[in-house]
Amino acid sequence: MTIQFKNYKNNLIFYFTIAACWSLIVFIKSMNYTYYGLPSPSAGIEGSFKQSSKQKEILLANTRVGLLQNLQTEKDPVERMHLYHNIGINYFDLYDLSQNRAYLDSALQFLLESVRSNPPIARFYYNLGKLFTEAGQHASAQSAYQRALQFDPKHIPALHNLALMTYFELHDPKLAQKYFAQGLDIDTLLPICNLVLGMIDMDAKKYSDAIAHFEKELAVDSQFRKLPAKYPISDSRIAMSESIAHYDLSLLYSTKSVNPQKAQLHFHAYLSMESNPEKRNRAITEMARYWVMQPGTPKAKPAGK
């Protein structure tokens, strides 16, 4: 028997029917699918971008692999420059975690490569300065910071680090003073500057200037916390600055510009901030030379002065 399949209408009905059946089957199959969901419970990490060392190490390693791969293929010289810099910073972050000197050396190598063509990017030299400081190469760090300031005279972090390094590592208070003053000219709310200026004043026996600077430091630190963070100065460094300011003020108010109330206030503030028991005991011992202590409590009274 010969069946004539050239009947156009029959074919149309057949294909229409199977298409409709298929559409229905697929529609029914997909009916329970939801296009929106609910978020999974949070892992609970909130606040500034910090991770555990292990996770950070993994993330840094993955990033480094990707960056090194890009180094093989990236041809644009400007991008390559930034790539070298990012790899260097990656190694530096690893060094931060592990304190493995080899990472610091690799970081330096890549960062030096990134500045080989003298790019006018202050950030590059700033980071290089940080690395040199960490490596104990203070003269190179100084040059790097100064180079950063050449390209951007208002680069606060470079100026800040340069000033700190000049005072604490290069032991040049006059130059440090100049840098701090420069920094405060740009931004009066720059933390730590007034603290170190106060310390310089104390060394130079300018006690009233020192007190003024320490008081200013406390005001600045309090303001700095309230505003959105502009500079990479950690909360712990601000706290340390406040703690030192309180202590030095309590010393100055106890010995030089005697004011028992303020001395007490600042000493209590210092003790509340100092968590290290050894340092607390040393501070109390020191204060005991100037104050009569109540038995059992770290309070003090003026010794008849």
């Binding site: 069946i3 298409a19 697929v26 978020p39 999974s40 609970g44 990656n90």
Partner: protein
């Protein structure tokens, strides 16, 4: 009736005599049943493989969003981007088609069903088209086309490959069927359909060149003129409406078509790119698209090369046949493909070429078989016209059907294996979507979110967004985020890309004071960061 008497053009090579047909209807009955069986099986497979949501590709999300934009009266704009800029890259036909379903539903299920049906209709159209030239080749092409894994995969994705192929085949079919008639209506319809490919995918320009070339060759000047006029008018309108500053053709000569800022190629670079691309397509992509497998072993690569050689052989042979429009299109198509950005090469670009590749493969196998089993000199044996009737095959059917069976078997086994190993969403995507859900519930409606896939993020979170700049300059990345008005950033940990760790993470670490974690997930670590 000799096939030559039906048409004006004579074959270049003299035909050889064929054996008498055993009977006109015997094969036709089986063939119609076979066609229906193939279609039903294909529908069955598609039903099993069907996934109701958008893929993680991203382009389907963009098309879907553009369709939504048209349907809701926002014009042809990227709703997922801040400022809803007008779309300048994707041609309008496919989003226009998606807009039809956008009037009914805001979810992708309906258009995906429509795409599946279009793919089935496309198979039938391919079958009908090839039957115009050779009844013998139509069923083998249909079978292998339906079995192709690449074709099946794209049959239900909201991507323009299948609609583009549909427009191309429809245009060729209408032209071949009605070019010798005086039907004015069909003339108009054919000309209109002939410009649809270029407005569906940019590579459709290859089809326009093909159409013009074949019309000129066959002296169909009315078609040529009408096509050119309509093409110029529609392209001009599209350029004006989209305010695009990068004309279609110039995109090909960019270093990176997705990043015009990288500049244009020099002459040497163009040649290098052409050579590299052709090499990749011939050695890897064509074999992979035909067999469905990544042919990594030496044996696999060798088999793959053989398939490619058959395709090339068939392509060359086809220039001497009535179906030469396929060969001209193949030439134009690969000319454009060879100029495209090398890193973008994938099977996806070959999906619109699959039926042509299948047809060339059959021609190639038939031609090679003819070298052994026909009479005459080498050229006569190879360039003989393809058998019109199945009955005209002598020993050749074995070679062709063995090839069809092999290809279909590899593709179907790949598809079955793929269905069996289909897993739920991977954890990196689960976390990404979880972040989108969190953002949807905990952030203001007008929040802008930076993420690796802003289009997918938008559809899940209803928040506009942007992608971070792909630059190693951390300041550039942070400025890009800041200038985009973003208030949240998604730090993902995708397995399939490392751009976030390469570009975004260094920028975050360089400016930690500006980023604050507000939602976090583990395995892998994924964060929603508030940006200040």
């Amino acid at each position: 009736m000799s096939p030559n008497k039906k048409y004006k053009t004579k074959p270049i090579i003299p035909t050889i005599s064929t054996t008498p047909s055993p009977g006109p209807h015997k094969f036709k009955i089986s063939e119609q049943l076979c066609v229906k069986l193939v279609i039903v099986l294909q529908l069955l497979f598609l039903a099993i493989e069907f996934y109701p949501d958008l893929s993680t590709n991203g382009d389907d999300a963009v098309y879907f969003i553009l369709g939504k934009s048209l349907a809701h009266g926002h014009g042809y704009t990227n709703l997922h981007l801040r400022g809803e800029p007008v779309e300048t890259q994707f041609p309008i036909v496919f989003p226009g088609f998606l807009a039809l379903s956008g009037f009914v539903s805001d979810f992708p299920l309906l258009p995906k069903i429509a795409m599946g049906l279009i793919s089935i209709f496309l198979l039938l159209l391919i079958y009908k088209l090839i039957r115009l030239w050779s009844e013998a080749a139509a069923l083998p092409v249909l079978i292998v086309m339906a079995s192709f894994n690449a074709f099946a995969e794209y049959s239900t994705l909201l991507l323009s490959e299948v609609p583009f192929l549909f427009a191309t085949i429809a245009a060729i079919f209408l032209y071949e069927k009605y070019k010798n008639t005086n039907n004015r209506l069909m003339f108009i319809i054919t000309v209109i359909v002939s410009i649809l490919p270029v407005h569906t995918r940019t590579i459709g320009i290859a089809f326009c060149v093909t159409f013009i070339a074949i019309c000129l060759f066959e002296k169909k000047y009315s078609y040529t003129i009408a096509h050119i006029v309509l093409l110029v008018v529609t392209l001009g309108c599209a350029q004006l409406l989209s305010h695009s500053t990068t004309p279609y053709l110039s995109q090909i000569f960019l270093h990176n078509s997705y990043d015009p800022e990288k500049g244009t190629l020099g002459m040497l670079e163009i040649f290098h790119r052409i050579f590299t691309n052709i090499s990749i397509y011939l050695r890897l992509t064509i074999p992979q698209s035909l067999t469905g497998f990544d042919l990594v072993s030496s044996a696999g690569k060798t088999i793959g090369i053989f398939f490619t050689l058959f395709v090339i052989g068939g392509w060359i042979r086809n220039f001497a046949l009535r179906s030469r429009i396929f060969s001209i299109y193949g030439l134009c198509y690969f000319c454009v493909l060879s100029l495209w950005f090398t890193i973008g090469i994938s099977i996806r670009f070959l999906v619109p070429f699959l039926p042509f590749a299948a047809y060339f493969l059959i021609l190639g196998v038939d031609g090679i078989a003819g070298l052994f089993f026909r009479q005459g000199n080498l050229l006569q044996r190879y360039f003989v016209p393809i058998a019109v009737k199945t009955s005209e095959f002598r020993f050749k059917p074995v070679a062709i059907w063995v090839t069809i069976a092999l290809l279909s078997a590899t593709n179907i086994s790949f598809r079955i294996g793929h269905i069996a190993t289909q897993t739920a969403q991977s954890s990196d995507w689960k976390n990404f979507y979880s972040c989108a859900d969190w953002v949807r519930l905990h952030t203001p409606q007008n929040a802008i979110v930076v993420s690796r896939k802003p289009e997918l993020f938008y559809l899940r979170s209803n928040r506009k967004g942007l992608i971070y700049p792909f630059s190693h300059d951390v300041e550039k990345v942070v400025s890009g985020i800041s200038n985009g008005g973003a208030s949240y950033v998604i730090m993902d940990n995708f397995f399939w890309t490392s751009t976030t760790s390469r570009y975004l993470y260094p920028a975050i670490m360089a400016n930690p004071q500006r980023f604050n974690i507000v939602y976090s997930l583990r395995n892998p670590d994924t964060f929603v960061l508030e940006f200040k």
